[in-house]
């Protein structure tokens, strides 16, 4: 990697930055889920590793969250953008060199940021936990160069229109910049009180809604038509999806603070807008499932399709939960319980991770021109992810319902803790399965790069038969 940092742009092979981003994202995925599994063990067995400040739950918890969001998910996004954007514009990435630097600074910056956070250097604001000077580095050192590369690539495209995936990439990189800029104002300017509390959740909501959700969906808009060979079912529904994300997903931030003392109109407004998130969700899911028409055998035969479609299918329960759990009628019961943790993992570990997984699987094969090393290992990865996630989701949902009941019937808190214990253990088992699957994935991708069958010129990876 260091070799290319100082090479001339023309000398860097096409796709280099995408490969770096792809491999880095898998490594962060392994680290991030390993941390998650460690945290889960601590919640099940509080005396597992004690006596050290660094390994206490309070220090480790957010390192997991930030590692998976900024390491795994966002780097997989960057990898997808680095190869899909040029492919759709029939051109090369605007600057491969900027891409390589971007990846290098990202890895370096994130490692530093996570180390500091781990040591306790936190702003005390959930999801914007990094102190403000790190936020500025992320904004101008990581997000801005990524956005610049994507935007310039689209501007320099050699096709006439812009395909759906690229709308989302363009809008996503732009919106996440704005969200980071505005969402961190409480830290730059030391805003206080309700303004701070509200902006914290404004940030948390929008970074999920205007970055993770749309960009993950954009990946599916690429992989499904590309692999199955079917054109996208409807460009118009794509429009509906895009516009309703911008309008409905950017407004319900206050639904995270339904029981906080915020202005009542704001909470009601947020909650109505929150239900309307079902519009982009239904548009997205139906569009992609209809694109599969006649090609459903790929769901079974082809790993990337399996991942993508699973992600799309998981968007259904995700958005049904999301739309309704934030209304006043339901929120009072499940607010602040394990139900929400289950929901967060359904969004990030379910829906979005499966889509990013597809992008990384497919992208690495395409750019390296090597067929996946082992189908068996890929299937192992898929099933460990899916079963592990399901155990996680089911156990935490049950734990959440128990907590909700405890809250209403005024059960002494410690009895709730005791009742949740088996589910905490189950969550740890499920999460550890995910982690195990990821270690296998890392091995599989590594072997693909070294020993995968070379794909002949003019062929696509999924056209070749698997060998192992």
């Amino acid at each position: 990697m260091l070799k290319y940092l100082f090479a001339r742009n023309e000398d860097i092979p096409h796709g280099t930055s995408a490969v770096y981003f792809g491999i880095s994202s898998i490594m962060w995925f392994v680290i991030g889920t390993g941390l998650g599994s460690f945290n889960a063990a601590k919640l099940a067995f509080p005396d597992f590793v004690t006596g050290s400040e660094l390994f206490s739950f309070g220090h480790m918890r957010q390192v997991h969250v930030m590692a998976v969001i900024f390491g795994w998910i966002s780097m997989a996004f960057a990898m997808a953008m680095m190869y899909i954007t040029p492919a759709l514009g029939n051109t090369r990435l605007w600057s491969e060199k900027l891409g390589v630097w971007n990846c290098f600074l990202w890895n370096f910056g994130l490692s530093l940021a996570l180390t500091l956070l781990w040591a306790g250097m936190s702003s005390g604001r959930e999801y914007s936990d990094f102190p403000w000077f790190i936020d500025l580095v992320i904004l101008f050192g990581i997000v801005a160069p990524l956005g610049l590369n994507v935007w310039m690539t689209v501007l320099k495209r050699r096709t006439q229109g812009i395909y759906t995936t690229n709308w989302f990439f363009l809008a996503g990189t732009f919106m996440v910049f704005i969200v980071l800029l505005v969402g961190n104002t409480p830290e730059y300017f030391q805003l206080t009180g309700l303004t701070e509390a509200y902006l914290t959740w404004w940030f948390a909501h929008n970074v999920l809604g205007l970055w993770i959700t749309p960009v993950a969906a954009a990946i599916a808009y690429y992989t499904i038509p590309k692999i199955t060979g079917n054109p996208l079912y409807s460009h118009r529904i794509g429009h509906l999806h895009f516009w309703s994300v911008v309008v409905f997903y950017s407004t319900p931030a206050a639904h995270h603070l339904m029981s906080a003392p915020l202005p009542e109109w704001l909470k009601s407004f947020a909650s109505v807008e929150g239900v309307l998130i079902l519009v982009p969700a239904i548009a997205f899911v139906s569009n992609l499932l209809l694109t599969m028409t006649g090609k459903w055998h790929y769901f079974v035969d082809n790993v990337e399709t399996k991942f993508t479609i699973t992600g799309v299918l998981l968007a259904i329960p995700l958005n049904m939960q999301g739309g309704f759990q934030q209304t006043r009628a339901i929120n009072w019961y499940i607010h602040g319980t394990g139900w929400i943790v289950a929901h967060a993992h359904l969004a990030l570990l379910g829906f979005s991770t499966f889509l990013e997984g597809a992008a990384v699987y497919y992208g690495l094969q395409t750019i390296l021109r090597r067929k996946l090393y082992s189908l068996a290992l890929a299937n192992f990865h898929f099933w460990f992810l899916l079963i592990g996630f399901s155990i996680y989701w089911i156990s935490m949902t049950i734990a959440g319902l128990i907590q909700g009941a405890g809250k209403i019937y005024e059960v002494p808190y410690i009895d709730v803790v005791i009742a949740e214990h088996p589910y905490m253990i189950a969550r740890w088992v499920g999460g550890t399965m995910v982690f195990t699957g990821n270690c296998v994935w890392l091995y599989n991708m590594w072997m693909t790069a070294r020993a995968g069958t070379v794909i002949p010129a003019g062929r696509l990876p999924h056209e070749l038969a698997y060998e192992r």
Partner: protein
């Protein structure tokens, strides 16, 4: 431009995003700036100091650069006995809490009284100041406001601290830092819910309870009791001490982590704490080989454990 075909789209996009920001950022801010601080809000802001998370004066969250809260029952400048009052002492150089620097965030009324009667505009950060919360009336309503006792009563930070003594001094601001750094808010909330928490966890917060606090650290997922009013449920220092050292001493089923490392190296008497021996004895107790658990060492006066306990007990 390569976006020729997308002229309308690009404009609509700006309009949509701008509109959404207008509704979700600008309009709520109009409401929020109008909120006047309650007495609780004033006391929190004054006792926590400038920032409760990362800040330039305290980059590693050690609890530095924070005010001290003292209980005074004697006037430090005249020596006369007075009604006990809480004084918030900002020693020379300690950054002032936001409401002193920008009185506007106190909200109408509170701001006017604090500036006119409380003379907070005269407070000087470089030489330090002592604040108290006073009662006044504004437009016929009784309102709490901040009084700069250094200006109005001639109380200097040092005189107040020595008049009160360590026994009456609380490190609430530094304790809030510990609360944030140690991630207590990943398990505990500071937000009883409006719908059903009144009975068990107490009154939900009101709009004006936070005006000068940052971060508010409400917490979003609750695996443990709400702490906003924990000091009124349980005010025993002894219990807190044992519970933080090892929660399983007082609550065998607790999943709360041990915070024994907040004790530092030495206990209150200056003796070295032997954690290894403590653990061995505790393990023997758990396995039934000992009848009583080992004694929990008394935290030193400047230990992080003491800061944290001061903070937790201040949550009334």
């Amino acid at each position: 431009m390569a976006f020729r075909e997308y002229k309308i789209g690009a404009r609509l996009f700006g309009l949509a995003l701008g509109g959404s920001m207008m509704i979700t950022l600008y309009m709520p801010s109009l409401n929020i700036v109008e909120v006047a601080s309650t007495e609780t809000g004033l006391r929190k802001g004054l006792s926590y100091g400038r920032v409760g998370g990362f800040s330039v004066e305290d980059p590693f969250l050690q609890g530095e650069g924070k005010p001290k809260t003292v209980m005074l029952s004697q006037d430090p400048s005249t020596g006369q006995a007075i009604e006990p009052v809480y004084a918030y002492v900002y020693e020379a150089g300690t950054p002032f809490t936001s409401s002193i620097r920008h009185p506007r965030i106190l909200g109408a009324g509170v701001k006017d009284l604090s500036l006119e009667q409380g003379r907070i505009g005269e407070a000087n950060q470089a030489s330090g100041a002592v604040f108290v919360v006073a009662e006044g009336s504004w437009n016929g309503e009784s309102v709490s406001y901040i009084e700069n006792a250094t200006a109005t009563r001639n109380w200097s930070p040092d005189a107040v601290l020595s008049a009160a003594g360590d026994a009456n001094t609380r490190y609430i601001g530094s304790g809030k830092i510990m609360f944030v750094r140690e991630g207590c808010w990943w398990c505990h909330t500071l937000l009883p819910e409006e719908t059903q928490d009144w009975q068990v966890f107490g009154v939900p917060p009101r709009l004006g309870d936070y005006n000068s606090e940052s971060p508010t650290a409400f917490g979003s997922d609750r695996k443990a009791p709400d702490l906003l009013h924990v000091g009124s449920r349980n005010s025993s220092r002894e219990w807190m001490m044992m519970h933080f050292f090892n929660p399983r001493l007082v609550q065998p089923h607790s999943i709360m982590p041990r915070y024994d490392y907040l004790w530092g190296d030495n206990d209150a008497a200056g003796n070295r704490i032997d954690f290894v021996q403590w653990r061995n004895e505790y393990n023997a107790y758990v396995s039934g080989a000992r009848v009583y658990p080992p004694e929990v060492p008394e935290p030193a006066a400047d230990s992080e454990a003491r800061y944290l306990i001061d903070f937790v007990l201040s949550l009334k």
